[in-house]
């Protein structure tokens, strides 16, 4: 008997090992390819003596830092070498739990190499690039967190876009009417919550397919905001409805004076700080508190939660309403944090990219913010594509985040770690 148990255990671990090994080798190969790419495409293209100059102070910054000048090919050789070593170690031994962090590291090194190569012989404002990256990440991360809140409770939310758009509109009107940004912000957040409630109503009470319900909300939001916008706030007579003002930039005392880091992280309007706070808060709430445990149990195994006296429907309603409010907060960024007015369809698909950031970030707030930074970086880069030394159409840089999402989704996540009961309406017998 006991010998049989042992052999069984060994075989089980052998089976798992086999799968693990395949994954490990693929990941290692990815690192090696990154190294090769740097060597073949970047290093071989450079004159050995050429230098890269990164400006470390964004325009109009609160703190100055000297430029960073370095010999391009030397640095790139070092980076490619590190990447190759990481790849080799990954194939032979594997980083185990830290694999994803290493992947992020290699990705950052690769992007750095690209930038150094593209800048070689000239200069790029790295600090400016990163500062814009942080700003661009805000709506994506907030959108992703809206998705996380809903999906951790088992409700797919592809309506983030529509919720954001609604909130952008409502906040504009309310802020303009009241003359108070706070009132506008609250109104926007509440309108997002109402959209979440409608989503919940359609897919919890009426058990509509959640993707279709999300589509309904997206179409409706686009329609109603554009309708009211062209009926009222785009007209000269009603111009006063479209002058909400904008949240001012805050320079955090002391921190914003830190060279390089200060202007990038600590000199923004409140949306950026709110993003960091919300990411930390949601991570804590989801994984450390009773509230989070119950929410996640509903997304993973609603029936189990139900048998333990947790009200599944109530939890799901709460999650979609909070998710809607989070998206609403993200939506007000467009009107009150970025442009100071409402324009038709001004969210321009950021809600969908937020959704991608959620998947990319493995349904975890910190991961989602990382994905938000990645997308934000390419966004920021594509705007400045013309300033680079290499002739790369901005459209192609603009495509990069979408391509990256597809590749990551297909190659790494695949069937993924989505909450187990997601998308299935819970039926109480």
């Amino acid at each position: 008997m006991s010998t049989q148990t042992e052999t069984k255990t060994i075989q089980i671990s052998k089976g798992i090992l086999k799968l693990e090994r395949r994954k490990r080798i693929i990941m290692g190969a990815v690192f090696l390819v990154a190294a090769l790419f740097i060597w073949l495409m970047f290093v071989s293209d450079l004159d050995p003596g050429v230098e890269t100059r990164f400006v470390m102070t964004p325009g109009g910054a609160s703190a100055e830092a000297p430029d960073w000048v370095f010999p391009t090919s030397v640095y790139l050789n070092i980076i490619a070498g590190i990447s190759a070593m990481l790849g080799a170690y990954q194939i032979i031994r594997g980083f185990g739990k830290r694999t994803y962090s290493i992947l992020a590291l290699v990705a950052i090194m690769f992007i750095f190499s690209f930038l150094a190569w593209a800048t070689a012989g000239g200069s790029t404002n790295l600090a400016g690039l990163l500062r814009i990256m942080v700003v661009r990440a805000v709506p994506l991360t907030l959108g992703a967190m809206s998705g996380i809140l809903c999906e951790r409770a088992g409700i797919i939310n592809i309506a983030i876009e529509g919720m954001m758009l609604t909130a952008a509109f409502v906040s504009t009107v309310f802020a303009s009417l009241s003359g108070s940004l706070i009132v506008g912000l609250l109104a926007g957040v509440i309108s997002g919550g109402i959209m979440g409630l409608i989503h919940g109503f359609l897919c919890i009470k009426y058990k509509i397919n959640q993707i279709i319900s999300g589509t309904v909300i997206n179409i409706f939001a686009t329609g109603i905001t554009s309708y009211l916008s062209s009926k009222y706030i785009q007209k000269v007579d009603y111009q006063y409805l479209n002058e909400p003002g904008m949240f001012p930039q805050i320079n955090v005392p002391i921190l914003s004076k830190i060279p390089f880091i200060g202007p990038i992280l600590f000199s923004h309007n409140m949306f950026v700080f709110a993003m960091f706070i919300f990411v930390a808060l949601l991570t804590f709430l989801l994984f450390k508190t009773r509230w989070g445990l119950r929410l996640r149990s509903v997304g993973e195994h609603p029936k189990a939660a139900d048998t333990l006296g947790i009200n599944v429907f109530k939890t799901q309603y709460m999650a979609v309403i909070l998710g809607g409010m989070m998206a609403g907060f993200g939506g007000t960024y467009f009107s009150l944090g970025s442009s100071g007015r409402f324009d038709e369809v001004m969210t321009a698909g950021r809600g969908f990219i937020g959704l991608a950031a959620m998947i990319f970030g493995n349904w975890h707030p910190v991961g989602a913010m990382g994905a938000g930074f990645l997308f934000g970086f390419f966004d920021s880069l594509s705007v400045r594509a013309s300033l680079l030394q290499v002739n790369l159409p901005s459209e192609f840089l603009g495509m990069a985040p979408y391509l990256a999402t597809i590749i990551i989704l297909a190659g790494v996540i695949g069937r993924g770690h989505a909450p187990a009961a997601e998308g299935e309406p819970y039926e109480k017998e």
Binding site: N209, I211, I212, T405
Partner: protein
């Protein structure tokens, strides 16, 4: 049991019973309710209504109803034509006047055409259990490849050039559908996310194509050259009527999709995979193949929508040429119960709405976006028939009404 009950009832009430349980009634009521709600919205966003309410409640109500009524009348005349104007035109016998009078009707058909293609694309995907949100991007690519074939391939006679250009459009869309299909089948990457991403890639790719390789060098702004006259889909009347062959191609496609889905073994396979992939595997159907084929065909139909627009209406490609056909297609495919005939009917409804809404915007100043609101509300009612059944106190159906079978991200 049921039979004996029925024999005691009057035939008419039996009919009503049957009818009230059926989906068709729900659809009709959903559309009706949507239009009523739209009217309410229009009335309450009109200043005169508020002014009238200040006078008295009944005055306000009357003005509200009149406003909504006028809006829908102008929607109707804008989409079908003004009967008085038509009869006057026929009396005068002036061919141009006649054509102008009947133009709204044909223009609605022109507007319906891309919807038919797009709706078929979405419906075909749904039948195979796939949610193709990427129709919009596929339309862009199809338009780009179609227009290229239209201006770059020279020396072809029309009867070859037109089908070739349409095929190029279909091919472009097919490639854009094939990628998510393949990824879904091979890696489980969810088609909703991949097609959304493919949309953005398509928009940027077409932007770039218009700025550089496909730009008409004589133009200052990014535009493609005009397509050759041999590639233009023939029109059936003189100006201003733009009604062209594309409409009949779309209807033909609907027939083909119908035959494919319901009359062939391939369609049986697609539907089985869409309804229950496990049973499909058990029955020996290759799911990978079915998924890839369905997404590719879906993309091809969407691509034809794009090609149809550039070959039949615009004759060249401009930036941001599609105004959300792809997203509307999702709504109308569901409205048509993912059946080709239903898609034609709902496309006609959407086409007439959209065309009517344009003249409505000009005539009574109601923004065209009212159409999107109507679409969303109607779609919600169609997807949740229980709402309609509650409002109108209809009988509950015996069995669960499932609109479509779709998986979550897990695939």
């Amino acid at each position: 049991m049921d039979k004996s009950e029925n024999t005691q009832k009057k035939p008419l009430s039996v009919f009503w019973d049957e009818f009230s349980r059926s989906n068709i009634l729900v659809i009709i009521l959903a559309v009706f309710t949507g239009i009523v709600l739209g009217g309410v919205l229009v009335a309450f966003t009109t200043n005169e209504v508020y002014d009238a309410f200040r006078v008295s409640f009944w005055n306000g109500l009357g003005t509200a109803i009149r406003t909504a009524w006028n809006t829908y009348v102008s929607l109707f005349t804008g989409s079908v034509g003004d009967p008085q104007r038509i009869s006057r035109a026929f009396e005068s016998g002036d061919p141009l006047a006649i054509r102008r009078a009947i133009n709204p009707f044909f223009e609605s058909l022109v507007q319906s055409t891309p919807y038919i293609f797009g709706g078929l694309a979405v419906a075909l995907g749904f039948r195979a259990g796939l949610f193709n949100i990427g129709v919009e991007g596929q339309i862009f690519i199809g338009a780009a490849t179609g227009v290229w074939a239209g201006y770059a391939l020279t020396g072809l006679p029309a009867f070859i050039h037109i089908p070739v250009a349409m095929l190029f459009g279909a091919l472009g869309g097919a490639i854009w559908g094939f990628v998510p299909g393949l990824l879904k089948a091979k890696t489980g990457a969810h088609e909703v996310i991949v097609t959304i991403m493919m949309n953005y890639i398509a928009f940027r790719l077409v932007d770039w194509l218009l700025k550089f390789p496909m730009k008409d060098p004589t133009e200052f702004t990014p535009k493609t050259p005009w397509i050759l006259s041999t590639a233009q889909l023939p029109r059936f009347f003189d100006t201003p009527i733009r009604f062209h062959l594309g409409f009949f191609i779309a209807v033909l496609m609907a027939v083909l999709v119908y035959l494919l889905l319901f009359k062939t073994t391939w369609g049986f396979e697609l539907r089985t995979v869409g309804s229950n992939p496990n049973a499909a595997r058990y029955a020996g159907i290759k799911i990978t193949m079915a998924t890839v084929v369905a997404m590719t065909l879906s993309g091809a139909l969407a691509g034809m929508a794009g090609a149809n627009e550039v070959l039949g209406v615009n004759y060249r490609l401009l930036p941001a040429f599609s105004s959300g056909y792809g997203f509307d297609s999702i709504a109308l495919a569901l409205l048509g119960k993912t059946h080709p005939l239903g898609v034609i009917l709902s496309s006609l409804l959407f086409g007439f709405l959209r065309n009517g809404a344009r003249s409505m915007q000009l005539a009574v100043g109601v923004p065209i976006d009212i159409v999107s609101i109507l679409q969303a509300v109607i779609l919600a009612f169609i997807a949740a028939p229980a709402i309609i059944r509650t409002i109108y106190r209809l009988r509950e159906p015996k069995h669960k009404e499932d609109l479509v079978t779709l998986g979550s991200w897990k695939g």
